[in-house]
């Protein structure tokens, strides 16, 4: 099991100019750990991160899009795996922060927590490559391969809460930041 913030810090050390879509706790944390105008946190409804990321990936096939999704979130939009597999964007990396619970909503366990293999869903849906990673060292070692892999790629990351970061919901949904994102992406 990895601390989520340590996992994100390892990613941040490798990050170049990728678009990052993040939801819930990962969204709060990424704005502190890897601040960038290309952080997209304007997801608006639970479960929708993977689908926003698909729109971005289809609209900008020249840019790598990395989504840090949640397991509770993905269960709300499981069909998106099939949609993504069908569209097969080569620039799409779907990282699932798997903590087995609805952490933001009181850490209530997911239904059938611990018995779901999300990588099997992704494989069946048509993702080209899947990974299951539970150790920080393995994540650090495999990151270059994952980021260079032709997508769609799915990575199940077994995580637990790490350090607490200040929550800033207005930042996540700010129209000003969304417009900055659009402008930065247009120039990028």
């Amino acid at each position: 099991m990895m601390k989520r913030d340590e996992m994100l810090k390892a990613f941040a050390r490798r990050r170049k100019d990728e678009i990052v879509v993040a939801v819930y706790m990962a969204a709060q944390e990424i704005t502190h750990i890897s601040p960038s105008e290309l952080n997209y946190t304007f997801v608006g409804a639970m479960g929708q991160g993977s689908s926003h990321a698909l729109g971005l990936a289809l609209g900008r096939p020249d840019k790598k899009v990395i989504v840090f999704d949640g397991d509770g979130s993905l269960l709300m939009n499981l069909g998106s795996l099939v949609t993504i597999g069908n569209q097969a964007p080569k620039n799409y990396v779907h990282c699932l922060c798997e903590n087995g619970c609805y952490e933001t909503n009181g850490s209530v366990p997911l239904p059938n927590a611990g018995n779901i293999r999300f990588t099997e869903f992704a494989k069946t849906a048509g993702y080209k490559k899947t990974y299951e990673i539970s150790e920080l060292g393995e994540w650090e070692r495999k990151l270059p391969e994952i980021l260079n892999q032709e997508g769609p790629v799915f990575v199940a990351l077994k995580v637990e809460p790490g350090e607490a970061y200040p929550e800033n919901f207005p930042r996540l949904y700010s129209l000003e930041h969304r417009e900055k994102f659009r402008q930065t992406l247009a120039k990028s």
Binding site: L54, L58, N77
Partner: protein, 169 residues
């Protein structure tokens, strides 16, 4: 076909006029046979087929953030099913999501609010309470409203609903 009131070609023409390349869609019984299948076969359009309508709200939003215009096609049942995403993303999040909604079961030339079909009758009031502009399309003569609605949505960064009141052929 000459005297049939609404054609798929007229609707497609409006999409083209508005600069739409991406069409995000779930099959809707009102529009799937002539309009959606026509779009799927047309290389000028990239149709992204989704498994559930709320995915489409988000995909259109991601496309907008990446600099593209798109439309989202669904049946009114899907509109009702994706209300929370429309609320959170398109209305509160101010993403210009243009939704083409097939009013399955609406009686020809009857106003949606007067329909005997409950699900059809409640669509316009729901749009009104959510502040979503809506336009009824029943005849080719109505179709220029599609271009205007798309233009206005993208200019004002707000959603719109284009209600298809009969099967386009």
């Amino acid at each position: 076909m000459a005297d049939y009131p609404l054609t798929a070609a007229a609707i497609k023409n409006e999409f083209k006029r508005a600069g739409i390349h991406f069409v995000v869609a779930l099959p809707d019984r009102v529009t799937s046979h002539h309009l959606l299948k026509g779009l799927l076969a047309d290389p000028d359009y990239k149709v992204v087929q989704v498994c559930k309508e709320d995915e489409g709200v988000s995909i259109c939003s991601g496309l907008y953030a990446a600099g593209h215009k798109s439309v989202l096609m669904m049946q009114y049942t899907g509109f009702l099913d994706s209300i929370n995403s429309i609320r959170g993303i398109a209305v509160e999040g101010k993403f210009p999501v243009c939704i083409i909604v097939g009013l399955l079961g609406k009686e020809p030339d009857v106003a949606p609010a007067q329909s005997k079909k409950y699900g059809v009758k409640i669509i316009e009031p729901i749009c009104d309470v959510m502040g979503i502009e809506h336009h009824l399309i029943e005849r080719d003569a109505d179709t220029p409203k599609i271009y205007s609605a798309i233009e206005k949505s993208f200019a004002s960064s707000s959603p719109s609903a284009i209600l298809i009141g009969r099967e386009p052929r």
